[in-house]
């Protein structure tokens, strides 16, 4: 094999050295890595906040903090997790890194805009930090910024809101870049039905990002405007309607849920076929369900508002539509499982994480039905049931997809392999901790414990204690998982270009890839998940990697 220089050795644009080669780079791969470190930083911070919250709740009354701090912490946990981790994690890191490669091209369409998005992302993060240490104190409105509370609160809401605005813009520009790349830079020989599913899911996500993000932008701007000029657009005394704020907010924030989960589904759709060594089942159905989720997901926002006092007609329509949106997700789950039927399944950490994803996401999705149905939602709305439900989807879903993606593409991104045994231990511990953490919350919710509660009635104490215990287990698992990945930097076991026996284009280039991704012209397969050659290769005695 010819030794090629990886993108680590070649700055882009050429001539940059040292730190400049990173901070001024146009290379989508370098940007992806820079996103990765920033996003991991925020993830750890927000996770710590979460752990503090659950510690506070482990026993009744004041445990380690007062209500003001508690309220700020859950606000920050929400804002950081949503805007700085879950939304950008998969698109900004793995999307940036692999979308161009999977399309057989050398970079995104607007490389400089890509760098600009990264700066916006960092800038938004800095803004979020500033909001902590200036003004009248920590923002404490919850990540939803519901009016009139967010307009009246003395805390530093405006700056936090602007941070969310800037982060929204960053994610929107990334989406813009992806769509243009998808249409204009795809390899000429690659038809629409030859595109890997991960890229398809990013494409669907990008549309939601472009069309929904501006709505939250304007909503957040309105919050700031109200705080500065008190026009009263949402103030009942001045003729405003606070419920309209909720409509505007969820018009973005419900589609945002799909911005968060679709890329994760894309990751799983890549991993399952590779380790089953078998084509994905129903490729077209998955593509269509991605687009279907993107479209239909934009029509159901008001199912967050059954108890808000909106009209019963609205409740009826949005509940009905909500149930229809559940179908494409179900189709995906069935397709993943059918993919494994008669496969040749090799257990690896990415696959294990993907299987955990399917399980946790199914729980999240199915409990969503309870929330979609009106009568039952009335009881559990704004209780811990909801908290648990969306953590199953966002963390059990997107979070685990993110972990799976890390383990799947780590060898490609860094050119090194990690240890499998510790990865398994980390994954299993994380999953067990996860269940311990969130299952009690379902029960708490059904018993009627509201969310965002600093303190609670005595009858909820057992559940809260268990959840807190699970939280520690969960963090320990994540620690082991990340620790194991970082240990690979020390052990430096080189990874071959295709350690898993995969078929998409990123596995045909060296690990890590060279600066222009492809050393020779990419060979586009008629079907992206055609594994017939992979099996043959192995029969000829070619081992793809050492067993670790």
């Amino acid at each position: 094999m010819i030794k090629t220089e990886s993108f680590y050795d070649t700055p882009a644009p050429a001539g940059l050295t040292g730190i400049k080669a990173w901070l001024l780079t146009h290379d989508h791969k370098r940007l992806a890595l820079m996103y990765m470190w920033a996003i991991l930083f925020w993830f750890v911070i927000a996770m710590m906040f979460g752990l503090l919250l659950r510690t506070e709740l482990m026993s009744q009354g004041r445990t380690i903090m007062g209500p003001e701090v508690y309220n700020s912490l859950f606000t920050l946990h929400g804002v950081i997790m949503i805007f700085l981790f879950v939304i950008p994690a998969i698109p900004a890191i793995f999307g940036n890194f692999f979308l161009p490669i999977q399309l057989g091209t050398d970079d995104v369409f607007f490389p400089r805009l890509n760098l600009f998005s990264w700066y916006l992302f960092m800038f938004g993060g800095v803004f979020a930090l500033i909001s902590l240490f200036t003004g009248e104190g920590f923002p404490d409105t919850g990540w939803t910024f519901y009016v009139p509370f967010s307009v009246e609160a003395n805390s530093n809401v405006s700056v936090t809101v602007m941070a969310a605005f800037i982060l929204g813009m960053s994610s929107m520009l990334t989406g813009l870049n992806f769509i243009t790349t998808f249409h204009r830079m795809r390899d000429k020989n690659m038809g629409l039905m030859q595109i890997p599913l991960f890229t398809w899911s990013l494409y669907a996500t990008a549309w939601v990002q472009i069309l929904a993000t501006p709505v939250i932008s304007i909503t957040l701007v309105l919050v700031v405007v109200e705080r500065l000029f008190s026009i009263g657009l949402f103030e009942p005394d001045k003729g405003g309607d606070p419920i309209l704020y909720q409509h505007l907010f969820w018009m973005y924030s419900h589609p945002a849920v799909y911005i968060m989960i679709l890329p994760g589904m894309g990751v799983i759709s890549e991993i399952i076929p590779v380790f089953s060594r078998k084509s994905i089942f129903g490729y077209k159905a998955i593509v269509w369900s991605s687009m279907g989720i993107a479209v239909a997901g934009s029509l159901v926002w008001a199912h967050h508002m059954y108890t808000s006092g909106m009209s019963d007609v609205s409740v009826f329509v949005f509940s009905l539509l909500t149930f229809l949106v559940a179908i494409p997700s179900a189709v995906k789950v069935f397709s993943w499982i059918a993919t494994m039927h008669k496969g040749s399944i090799e257990m690896t950490p990415p696959l294990l994480l993907a299987l955990i994803f399917i399980y946790l996401f199914s729980v999240g999705g199915l409990t969503g039905l309870v929330l979609g149905a009106v009568g039952t939602d009335i009881h559990v709305h704004d209780t811990h049931f909801v908290v648990s439900h969306f953590h199953f989807v966002m963390f059990g879903g997107t979070g685990f997809a993110f972990f799976a993606a890390l383990h799947f593409w780590w060898p490609k991104m860094f050119g090194i392999m990690y240890e499998f045994k510790n990865a398994y231990i980390g994954a299993v511990l994380t999953a067990i901790g996860f269940l311990f953490h969130y299952v009690p919350m379902f029960i708490l919710g059904l018993q009627g414990m509201p969310r965002r509660y600093y303190d609670y009635l005595p009858k909820y104490e057992t559940g809260n204690f268990l959840a807190g215990f699970g939280g520690y287990l969960l963090c320990l698992g994540i620690l082991i998982m990340f620790g194991n990945l970082f240990m690979s930097f020390k052990r430096r076991i080189p990874a071959p270009s295709d350690p898993w026996g995969a078929t998409t284009l990123e596995w045909t280039v060296p690990s890590p890839p060279p600066v222009h991704n492809f050393v020779k012209k990419p060979q586009i397969k008629e079907f992206p998940y055609d594994f017939s050659e992979v099996g043959k290769r192995e029969k000829n005695g070619e081992k793809s990697r050492k067993i670790l």
Partner: protein, 196 residues
Amino acid sequence: MTPVQGVDQAFWYILGFSTLLLFGITAVMIYFVIRYRRSKNPVASDIRGNYFLEIVWTIIPTLIALSMFYVGWTSYIGLRTVPENAIEIDVAGQMFSWLFVYENDKETENELVVPLGEAIKLNVTSLDVLHSLYIPAFRIKIDAVKGMETYVWFSADKIGEYDIQCTEYCGTGHSAMLAKLRIVPESEYLKWLEEE
């Protein structure tokens, strides 16, 4: 059937189906992973899809989902249809307590007393930010919005003391915004109503 029973039935229906589905998905997944492991099944079959199967597993979940919608919706109708002879009580949320105003202008804070065997309609509003009135025992919840009147109703069919909580985040004292609902025999209620 009381609204509470309706809602609980919907819960059983949806959670039951969900558990069944979850169990099925998980069992099949684990079975496949074990049955088709590489050491046992080194060569995978090249199956790329099956239209019949895909159509089936689109239509059946759609039907299940629609039935769940129906169950949920009918239970909601129960929560919204107030009997005609209901006793009306005005409720106002404020940071951080609940005010209850009776038809004879008696006003209480964080204490709601109602007579046994009657339907009670609560007309809810807010004096400042959003709040949400939640009585878990009766499966009812409605936001208190300033400048707007919303309602919930329940049938006070069992003597006892029940918790009322605020479920729309409203600031520092959100979790302390608790009230008690007491259901008492009619005679006791009438006496209580006349007390100053």
